[in-house]
């Protein structure tokens, strides 16, 4: 019996030693031939339009990279999981991606509430996380960001800039806000409040909606009742389109402003003429306005997956999330480890991808972009109104 116990102990020690040695020589999710990356997206549910566009864009871009031979001889493999825009499912997905799929990095992950739900787990497990598609302001003051790199704007910064622009350039005197009742909309509202504090503009009202709401008649009446001359939207494309249609229906025609999350050309179809004249922000060149690289990328994506035609802006956004990662892996060379990729990220200075531009990281800067610009919809096209507007780097 004693001998058997000793034998078991020896075997256990050997197993531990063997797996430990394996882990040291082999980075999680990286083999000689491939790098596994994971993402959790709302491929179903109320935000499926975003998830399918972004997930589809990432997938098509990866296929393009792989068709060209991959990166330093390694192909990329994307493991995509559907969270239905639900934070609890996002948590389960991320655990599965890390513990079972053993991904090297997580790229994107749509939804401020979802990113908030998984961030402690990802950070504690030292998983490389590239551009959570969530309010970037949530990372300011957050510790242990060694493996986190973000090239996505913060809704607080955006809301503030949009409000000050409305007041100073568009002559808005009072704004009302139509916002999604979760972290996405609430952060936008917070930014708008900061913009209000900086200008003489008045916050006339804030009308929240739930992501499953479809009847917007009450919301539109509330916005009209506020007496605001301008309305700012922090919504999904569906609710964004529904509210502007409903406002037009009841004869309420304020100046309209919206987050870049509503910049997809699909909005011209969904909202119709009511979308004409709306002012939005953008953090990369929107397609169809003359930027050769962005238009070329969109054409290439559509060749790989023609279905992305339904959401060109979101497909390009998907590329913008993964481009810096691909560049960092390329810079890391044949020895791909989390630390070598971190060093590669931190070496990027004003780097331009095909979609995302001006990315700068450093040992003390993991917020890769700190600028947006203003666009306006005119005759079913977007027109650039300003040059880049910068905001302070927060982390």
């Amino acid at each position: 019996m004693k001998t058997a116990s000793r034998l078991c102990l020896v075997v256990a020690l050997l197993v531990v030693a063997a797996t430990g040695a394996g882990a040291q020589s082999q980075e999680r999710g990286v083999t000689d031939t491939e790098i596994v990356i994971g993402s959790s997206q709302p491929l179903s549910g109320p935000a499926a339009f975003w998830g399918q566009g972004v997930g589809g864009g990432m997938d098509a871009y990866i296929r393009m990279i792989n068709d060209r031979g991959g990166i330093n001889g390694r192909k990329l493999r994307l493991v995509l999981r559907d969270d239905g825009y639900s934070p609890t499912r996002a948590v389960a997905n991320v655990r599965e991606l890390v513990e079972r799929e053993r991904v090297f990095a997580i790229v994107s992950l749509i939804g401020s509430a979802n990113a908030f739900a998984v961030r402690d787990y990802i950070i504690e497990n030292s998983v490389l996380w590239v551009t959570p598609t969530a309010d970037a302001n949530m990372w300011a003051g957050f510790r242990n960001k060694k493996y986190l790199f973000v090239t996505y704007p913060g809704y607080v910064d955006e809301g503030r800039i949009l409000t000050t622009y409305a007041a100073q350039k568009e002559g808005a005197k009072s704004v009302a806000v139509f916002y999604q009742n979760d972290l996405y909309g609430q952060k936008g509202l917070l930014g708008i409040k900061r913009g209000v504090a900086e200008t003489k503009i008045k916050l006339a009202g804030a009308v929240p909606y739930e992501v499953t709401d479809r009847d917007m008649s009450g919301h539109a009446l509330k916005l009209r009742q506020s007496g605001a001359d301008s309305v700012i939207l922090y919504a999904t494309p569906t609710q964004g389109a529904l509210i502007v249609r409903e406002m037009a229906k009841i004869g309420f025609t304020p100046k309209l402003f919206a987050s870049f999350t509503l910049a997809d050309p699909l909005m011209f179809q969904l909202a119709g003429d009511a979308w004409n004249g709306i002012i939005l922000t953008a953090y990369f060149p929107v397609p169809g306005v003359g930027d050769v690289k962005v238009d070329g990328m969109l054409d290439a994506l559509l060749k790989v997956n023609p279905q992305l035609r339904a959401s060109p802006f979101n497909a390009l956004a998907g590329v913008s999330f993964i481009e810096p990662f691909v560049e960092a892996v390329r810079r890391a060379g044949p020895n791909v480890t989390r630390d070598s990729v971190v060093r590669a990220f931190e070496s990027m200075k004003n780097w331009d991808g095909d979609v995302i531009r001006g990315v700068t990281f450093g040992p003390n800067q993991h917020q890769g972009i700190n600028r947006i610009y203003i666009i306006k919809s005119e005759n079913r096209q977007y027109k650039k109104l300003t040059d880049w507007i910068t905001y302070p780097v927060g982390f």
Partner: protein, 292 residues
């Protein structure tokens, strides 16, 4: 006052659509005691069928809508024949769980066939053409949907209360075994009820799609509201479902206007709880008794 009237009119317009959804749920429940959780997804699937006929095949609206109602009815009946009936040994709860499975299958099929992007549903009435009456605004689409909703409700009431078929449906709902003994083709009646309820769902989907825009998840909220309306009116009562839908629409709209727009969605859950606690049979339902 005009504002209150506007909230009431808006509530009635959306309430008539809740009522249609509720009628489909109630029709099936009172016949088979099955709460069909796939009702919303059947409705969505039917609406997408109409969409495909309108846009891909470019058939006229009347043809597309009629064909879609028929096909959804066939789908509902087929679901009874091929899934629910073979599972006759399962408990009532088991059957309800099967409908949840069907909901997932239909949702997946809709997504695979038509994608998840939001679409404009072509409709002969305009959402932007509005009528103004002493400060109250109502769109041509809302008037049309409300009228069609009322006609469908009246038609269904006539069918169930004043035809031999309706009599058979009522007989089956009261006592299946006795109805069978009396020579009523129970299986066919069940299949017909499934078909009729599904077609009613598709009709509500087709009327809702131009207002809510079309995507595979468009019925998530209306189904919930329809369910709340059915509970409010009395899950056993067809007039109750109609009244429940209209009352819920108006109460919700006025609540959003004067109390809290933030808790508008929560209100329907509160109504379900309140009704179940205070008057489980609903506004117009009769207390459910079963002989033992």
């Amino acid at each position: 006052m005009a504002l209150l009237a506007q909230y009431v009119v808006g509530g009635l317009a959306v309430g008539s659509l809740y009522a249609l959804v509720a009628l489909g749920i109630v029709l099936l429940y009172r016949t088979s005691r099955v709460l069909n959780f796939a009702h919303g997804d059947l409705a969505t699937f039917g609406t997408f069928l109409a969409f495909a006929m309108l846009t891909a095949a470019r058939w006229p609206f009347s043809v597309s809508a009629t064909l879609s109602l028929l096909l959804t009815a066939v789908l509902g009946a087929a679901f009874f024949f091929f899934i629910i009936r073979p599972a006759k040994e399962s408990s009532l709860l088991g059957k309800i769980v099967i409908t949840l499975g069907l909901a997932l299958v239909l949702q997946g099929a809709t997504t695979a066939l038509w994608g998840t992007d939001t679409k404009i549903f072509p409709f002969p009435l305009s959402e932007t053409k509005v009528y103004r009456l002493s400060g109250i605004v109502i769109s041509q689409l809302s008037v049309g949907s409300f009228a069609v909703g009322l006609v469908l409700m009246a038609g269904l009431y006539g069918l169930v209360q004043h035809t031999r078929l309706g009599l058979a449906m009522r007989a089956v709902s009261q006592d299946t075994v006795a109805a069978q003994v009396l020579g009523i083709p129970v299986k066919r009646i069940f299949a017909l009820t499934w078909g009729l309820a599904s077609a009613l769902g598709a009709a509500s989907g087709i009327l809702l799609a131009p207002v809510t825009l079309l995507d595979p998840y468009m019925m998530l909220d209306p189904f919930l509201k329809g369910f709340a309306a059915a509970v409010l009116g009395g899950i056993d009562s067809m007039p109750g479902a109609a009244v429940g839908g209209l009352v819920l629409g108006v109460v919700e709209s006025v609540f959003a206007g004067y109390i809290s727009v933030r808790f508008k969605t929560t209100l329907s859950f509160l109504i379900i709880i309140a009704v179940l606690v205070i008057r489980p049979e609903g506004l117009l339902g009769q207390e459910y008794k079963r002989r033992v």
